[in-house]
Structure formats: C-alpha cells, structure tokens
C-alpha cells in the first residue's frame, strides 16, 4: 500500500532525464498508441528516446524540453511523476520556446528526420496555437501507473502556479495546450480553474496518422 507521506516534490535535475524522456513520450501519446513527436519526424519511439536524452542534456532553459522546466514527484527514491512549466520568453535573448525547441531538435536530430517533419508541416499546421510571451506555459505530464490516482499532477500543478507567482513581476496567466481527446487532462484543468479560450480543429484527415487527435484546445487560467 502506498504511504502518501513518503512523496517528495522537487525540481528536476539531470539525474531525472530518463524519467523526463518517458514523460515526453507518454504525454505525446495522450493515452493512445500514436506518439505525435515520433510520427512527426518519422522515427521510432526508441530513436526519439535517444534524441530526447541528448536534447535534455544540452540543458537549455525555457521550453518544454528543458530539465529546469520540470517538477517531479519522488517516492522512496524513485521518480514517479513529472510535469513541465516555464515562463514563455524568459531567456537571455527573449526567444519564444518554439524557437528554442526547434533549435535543440535541429541540433540533435538527423537531417532526414528534419526533412520529414518539414514535409508534415502542411498536415500539422492546423493544430498550431502560438504561446503568448510573458505567460506561464504548462506541458507534458506523466505519472507511472502504480502511482496514478494519487493526485500527483494536481499537487505538481499547484507548485507550478506558486513558481509562476514568484516571478517579479508575478505572472498573471497560465496557458496549456491539450489534445481534444485527453479527457483526464481536460477534467484536471477545469478543476484547476482553467477555461478553454481557443479550439482549433484540423480538417486534414492525415493529421490523425500523426497525432492522437485532430483538435487542440488552449486552456488559460488567471493567477
């Protein structure tokens, strides 16, 4: 039986990279078999795992592939849950996280994968929602099955909100992008006080060959 008093919540470190990689993979699947990121680049999950390790090891701050963006829950020395959040545009050059992520991917992934992703842009662009500078962005959540139902993502989300409030000046808004089929995250976000402010639907039938859903929702929460 799980002893709820044994959970430790803390920022991630480079030692947690294997779990962060698993978090990205599982979140990209959104409880389906389709790993959006692997499909987008036309690579296997195992190949993606390897590239994600290299990306995280670069330790570039300010996007969803930054170690410093993640908070984790640990139980008896093992990381069992993780979720990311960061202040959009809060890096030395005030670059959007999409640029940072793109630079990291282009640095580690082979040219063929990048070219395949470029070919897929026409399919996936209908699902794109821009991240707003100065807002706190939430992405990628995962809890290993044995610890699901312990409301760990709820607790980690509350920590992210505190982190957002601690900036000077305090961040006023949190945003999260969620695939339209992800019932658990949608319900979780509503309980956490988010409201759906935008919905985009791709009419390209091929999008479902790449992603778990043809719908992307923008959730926003005022802090």
């Amino acid at each position: 039986m799980i002893d709820s008093g044994k959970y430790i919540f803390r920022p991630a470190t480079v030692k947690d990279i294997p779990f962060l990689v698993e978090t990205v993979i599982q979140a990209e699947k959104s409880n389906t078999g389709a790993c959006g990121m692997a499909n987008h680049f036309g690579i296997s999950e195992d190949e993606l795992r390897g590239y994600l390790v290299q990306i995280f090891e670069e330790e570039v701050d300010g996007c969803e592939l930054s170690v410093s963006s993640f908070l984790v829950a640990e139980y008896e020395g093992q990381v069992v849950a993780a979720t990311a959040g960061w202040l959009e545009g809060a890096n030395d050059e005030e670059l959007p996280s999409a640029i940072l992520k793109s630079n990291l991917i282009q640095y580690v992934m082979p040219r063929e994968a990048i070219m395949r992703a470029k070919d897929n842009i026409s399919i996936t662009k209908g699902l794109s929602i821009e991240r707003e500078g100065g807002t706190y962005q939430r992405e990628y959540s995962y809890v290993i099955p044995e610890h699901q139902g312990q409301m760990l993502i709820q607790s980690l989300s509350e920590m992210h909100f505190e982190r957002a409030r601690s900036y000077n000046p305090p961040v006023k808004k949190v945003q999260a992008h969620v695939f339209g089929e992800n019932k658990a995250v949608i319900l979780s976000n509503k309980i956490l006080g988010y409201k759906i402010t935008k919905k985009v639907v791709s009419t390209n039938p091929k999008v479902l060959d790449l992603y778990p859903s043809n719908t992307m929702l923008l959730f926003e929460k005022e802090l």
């Binding site: 312990q150 409301m151 760990l152 709820q154 989300s157």
Partner: protein
C-alpha cells in the same frame, strides 16, 4: 452540509463499474480497483459542485477512507 451517508452515496456515483453498495464510509478508496486519476478528479469536481469546497491533491492523497475525505470536506466547508 450534507450528511456522511449522502456524501458516501455521491462519492460512489463517481464510479462506473464498481457496485455502489460496496462503498461504505470505512472503505479504503485508494484500494478500489476502479480508483484512478480520472475518478479522483471526478470526486474533486463533485465536492466542488455539491459542497463548494476546493480540494487539493494532498487532501485526496492523505485521506484513507471515504469518511476521512468527508471530514476534510467538512473542515473546509464555509
């Protein structure tokens, strides 16, 4: 504030496949086979709606029985 019996009935309604008669005040709810993040979220949503109480993740995590959770809700109710 609703009674413990009413709370147990509302709690049991959040499960789809579990016999509601199996859920009592002294049930260790984390041990119910159907218990999951989604059911937990549904319970939080129900408590928000029915009791106007917002629970945090650790309120659910630190409660063992349904009655424990009711006591947390009662302590936070306005």
């Amino acid at each position: 504030m609703k009674s413990l019996e009413e709370f147990v009935a509302l709690f049991a309604e959040q499960f789809d496949d579990t016999d509601t008669n199996e859920i009592k005040a002294n049930t260790v709810f984390h041990d119910i086979e159907e218990w999951s993040s989604l059911v937990g979220l549904s319970v939080i949503a129900m408590i928000d709606e029915e009791f106007d109480v917002t629970l945090k993740g650790d309120d659910i995590r630190n409660s063992v029985t349904v009655e424990d959770l009711y006591k947390v809700v009662a302590s936070k109710a306005k």
